[in-house]
């Protein structure tokens, strides 16, 4: 599964993207965030404030409870500030 990061989430994680084997039992975006936070301080830091970081699956905004099965690309980023 490909993960991509943007803006300060990218800076905190320390990379723009990565390919990860996500273990069985990680069913939702929230599960994935929890699992990532257990993988190292950089993830802990990026996701430190619950509910701030947004997610998208295959270019579509999703909520934390969204299932990740079948996802090709999952993105994490701060609230948008374009326009």
């Amino acid at each position: 599964m490909k993960l991509v990061y943007f803006a300060w989430v990218r800076e905190r994680v320390g990379k723009t993207d990565e390919d990860l084997e996500v273990p069985e039992g990680i069913a939702t975006v929230a599960d994935l965030v929890r699992w990532l936070k257990g993988r190292g301080e950089e993830y802990e830091y990026a996701f430190e404030n619950d509910g701030i970081v947004r997610a998208a699956i295959d270019h579509v905004h999703v909520k934390p409870e969204a299932p990740i099965a079948g996802a090709r690309e999952i993105a994490f980023f701060p609230p948008m500030t374009g326009g």
Binding site: F77, P79, T81, G82, G83
Partner: protein, 157 residues
């Protein structure tokens, strides 16, 4: 003169500046059914002298897709005859344009409302992030999302 009421939609994410007159002409050329074009242009402000530039990061692929979804919602809500959204990325100096929205319709109310709707959703839904470049030459903070922008979106129901 073409009489059709076809909806013309243009969405572009680019580093280069855009030309509002050229984009307006492209939207209206050869059409006699368009009575009103409302445009919004966003510019890089200095925030009271603090900034020298803004840097815009975006999510390629999703940015286009999300703007297309916002455009579809506007098109289903108002009788639009044309829609153009151009959003720039990269480093933009003070006074440079950041975003262009054009909404064309037979009458002014639909064009005004659609342009305003598009901007409210662009601000809060399109995957772009701004970072400040400060006058002292350092790179400043990422711009924080504003609650007022979330409230602005809520009024569209």
């Amino acid at each position: 003169m073409k009489g059709g009421s076809a909806m013309a939609r243009t969405i572009r994410i680019q580093a280069e500046p855009f030309d509002v007159a050229g984009e307006t002409a492209a939207l209206t050329r050869g059409r006699a059914d368009i009575g009103a074009v409302v445009s919004f242009m966003g510019f890089c402000r200095d925030e009271g002298g603090r900034l020298t530039a803004l840097e815009l990061e975006h999510y390629p692929g999703m940015a286009e897709a999300e703007i297309a979804r916002i455009a579809e919602r506007a098109e289903s809500r108002w009788p639009l005859l044309g829609l153009t959204v151009i959003h720039r990325f990269g480093r933009l100096s003070l006074g440079e344009e950041i975003v262009l929205v054009l909404a064309a319709s037979a009458h002014r109310t639909a064009a005004f409302e659609a342009a305003s709707f598009l901007m409210d959703y662009l601000k809060t839904q399109a995957p772009f992030w701004k970072r400040e470049h400060l006058k002292d030459g350092t790179v400043g903070a990422w711009v924080e999302a504003k609650e007022a922008d979330d409230r602005a979106v809520e009024r569209w129901g």
